[in-house]
């Protein structure tokens, strides 16, 4: 079994004392794998990533990176250790140009390296190149998502945390991005991905973790899960066809 | 027990602080010399924030606390409000306000510590006519109760003397840039310029006048040649002429002594407001000792028509008389700034003595 790069050990975290979101959550992600985190809306998937990247401090339990405890370590330090994070939702500097958004992605890198890496990203997402000198906020939803993903890749992270990359991307791009993540993983990058586009994501992942109410409910190889009719019913909605009466 | 209502913050902070310091200095001296009728003065001052509503509250509070005499406020707007309270309670009230209307309300408890504008302006107008031989004069004034009141009075006084008013230029409290105002004065071509603004603005106006090469006589009231103005305007103040009711530069022994004591106590020179506060405290002492008891009503009654002289107590600084309205009368001075110093060029007799 591959080395555990990221571990959650009975982590308890939340946004206020009266509301616990992660309830003794225990999970891990392994080197060179895509670990897929799925679950209903509000299960706490994004919260896992936020806790991991230092935006939330666990109330108890331990978050480990390569065996070292990183509870509440600030993002800057994690970044220096090779983690990168693409959050859900708005994540750009709206009045800066696309180019400047990209440049800032390389803020922690040596200056001289940045242009070449930007070029590389632009190759991957040609659409962004056309919009280089536009304000980031004028771009379409999908274009913005491409920019965000590209910006994180600029760092060539050892561990990539990515929250629902498929939101807003066209089918062709979803597949491109997934394939890209796959190739990164194959080259040794550890990927922890949250997705609602489960069917597609499973095809590219090694392992799937199902989160429910802040607890790990299931931990199975992705390929096994894809064929499981039970999960299909639970999470992919097939056959849940009990028609709901429309509210009058 | 004496309460001071003074402008320690807001637009009137400078005047109020001076007034307060003057009063405090006098209280200290009096207390050191045994107090009034053997009783120590308990002087407390409250900040009106230059706000009439607060003045009113403070006046009520002073009365609630059993003040014998109330001093201040200096601002005419505020005194108009607070004097209603002191009147209702029958507590004598000294004010530094110079607006004419204060004593015209028939309030028997209100007394001034300085000339009204109504009393001062005719002296200025007379000087403009006779001393400067000016046919027409431009007026630059600051648009607050002080400036507006003075402007109205000088216009009246000038009309009485037959001097024409040229440009009538209002400026704002706290105004910084006087270039358009000065340009207006230059354009109008009056024979002289009458400047009636607060200290800082006077300094700025003088500087701008100098900058634009204004060559005609510049006359004003007390504020124009005040210590502060000279300090702030520097060179540009030279040549400015002003009528001054009270000045620490007056060539009188008592005033010199006061000046020294004030400087020692506060590190700065007193302006006319400091003298107002100082003398008011001594008025209280002199008059209380004259009536022989601490009784506000009797005090007020005795004040009307009273005459106090330096002989009674050097603290009143100059001989002074009060009339039936509570207005006072005494000598005043014509000063000129020469080489960065205010010099008294003429002592004008009291109005009543002419």
């Amino acid at each position: 079994m591959a080395e555990k790069i990221i571990e959650f050990d009975r982590v308890v975290a939340g946004y206020s004392p009266s509301l616990t979101i992660l309830n003794e959550t225990t999970l891990d992600a392994r080197k060179g794998e895509i670990t897929l985190l799925i679950g209903p809306n509000g299960a706490g998937k994004s919260t896992v990533l936020k806790t991991l990247f230092g935006f939330l401090t666990p109330r108890s339990g331990e978050v480990r990176f390569e065996g070292r405890r990183i509870n509440g370590k600030p993002p800057r330090e994690l970044l220096a250790e090779g983690l990168a994070y693409v959050p859900q939702g708005r994540n750009l500097f709206p009045s800066l140009t696309v180019r400047h958004n990209l440049e800032l992605g390389g803020f922690t890198l040596p200056r001289a390296e940045v242009p070449a890496r930007i070029d590389e990203v632009l190759q991957r997402f040609p659409r962004i190149r056309e919009r280089l000198d536009n304000q980031a906020s004028t771009m379409s939803g999908g274009e913005q998502k491409q920019l965000e993903i590209g910006r994180a890749l600029l760092l060539r992270p050892r561990v990539l945390l990515i929250d629902e990359p498929s939101i807003g991307l066209s089918p062709i791009l979803v597949r491109d991005v997934m394939a890209l993540l796959r190739s990164l993983a194959d080259a040794g990058t550890t990927v922890l991905m949250v997705e609602q586009n489960v069917r597609t994501a499973l095809k590219y992942s090694n392992r799937a973790l199902v989160l429910e109410m802040g607890r790990l409910a299931l931990d199975r190889p992705a390929s096994e899960l894809l064929g499981d009719p039970d999960l299909n019913r639970l999470f992919l909605g097939a056959g849940s066809a009990k028609a709901h009466p429309a509210p009058a | 027990k004496i309460a001071g209502l003074v402008e320690l913050s807001g637009t009137g902070a400078t005047s109020g602080t001076n007034f307060d310091n003057g009063a405090k200095l006098a209280a200290k001296e009096i207390n050191a010399a045994g107090g009034i009728l053997g009783r120590q003065i308990d002087y407390t001052s409250g900040d009106t924030q230059s706000n009439p509503a607060v003045s009113k509250a403070l006046a009520q509070k002073a009365i609630d606390d059993g003040a014998y005499v109330v001093m201040g406020p200096v601002f005419s707007g505020s005194i108009l409000v607070s004097m209603e309270e002191t009147r209702r309670a029958g507590v004598p009230n000294f004010t530094g306000g110079e607006a004419a209307s204060i004593t015209q309300k028939g309030n028997p408890y209100i007394f001034r510590t300085s000339f009204t504008q109504a009393a001062a302006m005719p002296k200025v107008a007379r000087y403009i006519k006779n001393g400067l031989k000016a046919q027409s004069v431009d007026i630059m004034w600051v648009n607050n109760d002080f400036g507006k009141g003075g402007r109205d009075m000088i216009v009246k006084a000038l009309a009485a003397e037959g001097v024409k008013v040229g440009a009538d230029i209002s400026t704002d409290p706290g105004q910084v840039d006087f270039s358009s105002a000065v340009l207006k004065a230059k354009q109008s071509g009056g024979d002289a310029l009458f400047v009636y603004t607060n200290e800082e603005e006077s300094a700025r106006a003088l500087r701008e006048l100098r900058k634009q090469g204004y060559a005609k006589p510049i006359i004003g009231e007390t504020t124009l040649t005040g210590q502060k103005v000279i300090e702030l305007a520097g060179e540009a103040a030279n040549g400015a002429i002003a009528h001054v009711g009270l000045t620490a530069d007056a060539p009188i022994d008592t005033v010199r002594k006061f000046d020294k004591a004030f400087q020692q106590a506060y590190g700065t020179r007193s302006d006319h407001n400091g003298i107002k506060g100082y003398t008011a405290m001594y008025f209280i002492k002199v008059m209380t000792e004259r009536i022989g008891k601490v009784d506000g009503k009797a005090f007020a009654a005795a004040m009307h028509g009273a005459k106090m002289t330096v002989k009674d107590n050097p603290g009143v600084l100059m001989d002074v008389t009060f009339d039936q309205h509570g207005d006072l009368d005494r000598e005043s001075f014509l000063t000129k700034v020469v080489n960065g110093k205010q010099v008294v060029v003429e002592t004008l007799p009291p109005l009543g003595a002419k």
Partner: protein, 320 residues
């Protein structure tokens, strides 16, 4: 809070305010009345800024408009109860006009636009002498009589003002619990989404300003009659700033926020001024410095104002 407990507590507080006046000195009753008068204005500001999210720094202008109208009309012999609706209406209409910039700009731009309006009104008060008495102001404003009862006495006027404050508070309460209140909140949170859901943001923005202005106008009427003299000074924009501070210190968007905040801004300094304890005497000169620092500290610990203490306790230990 349970509705009945709430009502009981409110009744008790009001009773206390009413009874205590009988034992207070004249100047203290005056201050209490001044507090009530300012609360009328800050309550309106709380609606505009706290509930509807329209940063307004022009509240003192409406306060002034109400006061000047009252001064002029009362001196003309109008009855107080006729002046009130006129002042409220005039301020309502002017408030509508002030709302227009709010349709174009938001937040700090709006704050300064309204502040600009305040400055203009102030200049007009100072310069339009024929109407406003210029810098000399208007004095001799009478206090009302009501049902034959003379309200000139300080305690009588306090009861009269307190009663009116309760009525105004009731109106605001009603308004906030109606669908209007929710529409104001929607306007504050996300005007774009609100408009696409049929919320007439133009109407509600203008209403938020106009109603807030009307409250201030009413407050102004009571002010003029209380102080019996007005001049432009108290209606300078710095008063607007203080009113905003009062709302925020108390808790903006909290019903009782303005009452608490105004007490701190208006009553506390007077109390300190009045005290003769030595260390409190220090406060007479330094009050504003201490208050300013206290505001900073409050924003650090309780950015939602004093009344947000409960939420604060709940959220402690949340995300950094």
């Amino acid at each position: 809070m349970n509705a009945r407990v709430h009502l009981l507590a409110l009744a008790a507080a009001l009773a206390a305010l009413a009874i205590v006046a009988l034992y207070l000195k004249r100047s203290e009753v005056y201050l209490l009345t001044l507090w009530a008068v300012y609360v009328m204005a800050t309550m309106g500001l709380n609606l505009t800024a706290g509930y509807a999210g329209q940063m307004s720094l022009g509240q003192a202008a409406f306060f002034g408009i109400g006061a000047y109208l009252a001064a002029i009309l009362l001196k003309l012999g109008w009855p107080f109860l006729a002046v009130l609706p006129v002042a409220a209406l005039v301020c309502f209409v002017v408030g509508l006009a002030l709302g227009f910039p709010a349709l174009r700009v938001q937040h700090h731009y709006l704050a300064f636009a309204t502040l600009g309006f305040n400055v203009l009104v102030y200049l007009a008060m100072r310069n339009e002498e024929q109407i406003t008495g210029g810098t000399f102001g208007i004095s001799g404003i009478p206090r009302p009589t009501f049902l034959g009862i003379d309200l000139g006495g300080h305690v009588a006027y306090w009861y009269w003002t307190l009663g009116s404050l309760v009525v105004l508070g009731g109106i605001l309460w009603w308004l906030l619990r109606s669908p209007w209140g929710r529409a104001f909140a929607a306007l504050r949170d996300n005007p774009i989404r609100a408009e696409s859901l049929g919320v007439n943001i133009t109407a509600y923005t203008l209403l938020a300003f106009a109603i807030g202005a009307a409250f201030a106008g009413v407050g102004g009427v009571y002010y003029a009659s209380l102080v019996e003299f007005i001049e432009p000074g108290p209606f300078h924009f710095s008063t607007s700033l203080m009113m905003l501070l009062a709302v925020i210190v108390g808790g903006s968007g909290k019903f009782y926020g303005p009452a608490l905040g105004t007490a701190i801004v208006i009553l506390l300094p007077e109390f300190l001024r009045g005290s003769s304890t030595p260390w409190l005497k220090f406060m007479q000169v330094w009050y504003l410095a201490v208050f300013g620092i206290a505001v900073v500290a409050l924003m650090i610990w309780l950015p939602g104002g004093l009344l947000s203490i409960r939420e604060r306790l709940d959220r402690k230990g949340g995300p950094q």
